[in-house]
Symmetry: C2
Subunit: 137 residues, 2 copies
């Protein structure tokens, strides 16, 4: 089999996960507030939306999941997703971009403010560390 | 401000990221193949779909992004997303579930087979490590 692993590489993108605790019941349960995140955050981060921002209601699903809102938008640079669990004061969000230099503090503060979070836990992943600089095909 | 951080906690979920290299040009560029992933993987993992699986074409967007397909599905347990970049032989995927015990080897092998990947890079995150066991509101 022909070797198709590129010699010249760069990391593809940055993926920030934010898990927030102690959030405000009403703000986590407000469909419009969740929609606003997937609608306005791409603009604030100068990402280009490829899909209509979508928000779905997730009903209670077992003991662990009291239900909430799921928001999602596909951007040219990758995607933004969030899941709220109002009864637990919890939100779990992903901001994945293929442009480097993601404004981590700005995004974390944005989520803290949007849902009045008392505590957050973040991960910042470098995705695709062996991404080819040039087309291989 | 009242303290709304729960004392009794558990980790909320598991998030697997898969970045795959040296994939097959035709398979990465095949809309149906990308759709199949977001359509059938939830079933294979016994996840409950909350949205219609969606696939969008992303046109070329600068030097780094030769374009490709973006697939996404919201599941009760969270979401599955993937982004293919056929010209670079690259795919970047997220499988995020709030049920613990994700079958990592199964999912990685599934992506390897689906796109004929020559190399993969994975991260397995524990998300929401301070998730309240019970409703706080």
């Amino acid at each position: 089999m022909e070797e198709k692993i590129s010699a010249e590489t760069v990391h593809f993108g940055e993926h920030l996960t934010i898990d927030g605790y102690g959030g405000d019941l009403a703000k986590l349960g407000d469909k419009k507030n969740v929609f606003d995140v997937v609608n306005e955050l791409p603009d604030l981060l100068k990402m280009k939306k490829l899909s209509t921002p979508a928000v779905f209601f997730a009903p209670e699903n077992g003991e662990k999941d009291p239900g909430g809102w799921r928001g999602f938008v596909v951007v040219a640079e990758s995607h933004i997703a969030l899941h709220t669990f109002p009864a637990r004061g919890f939100v779990s969000a992903d901001i994945y971009t293929c442009r480097n230099g993601l404004q981590v503090d700005f995004v974390v503060d944005y989520f803290k403010e949007k849902f009045k979070l008392q505590d957050v836990e973040i991960n910042l992943l470098r995705r695709g560390t062996k991404y080819p600089v040039k087309n291989i095909y």
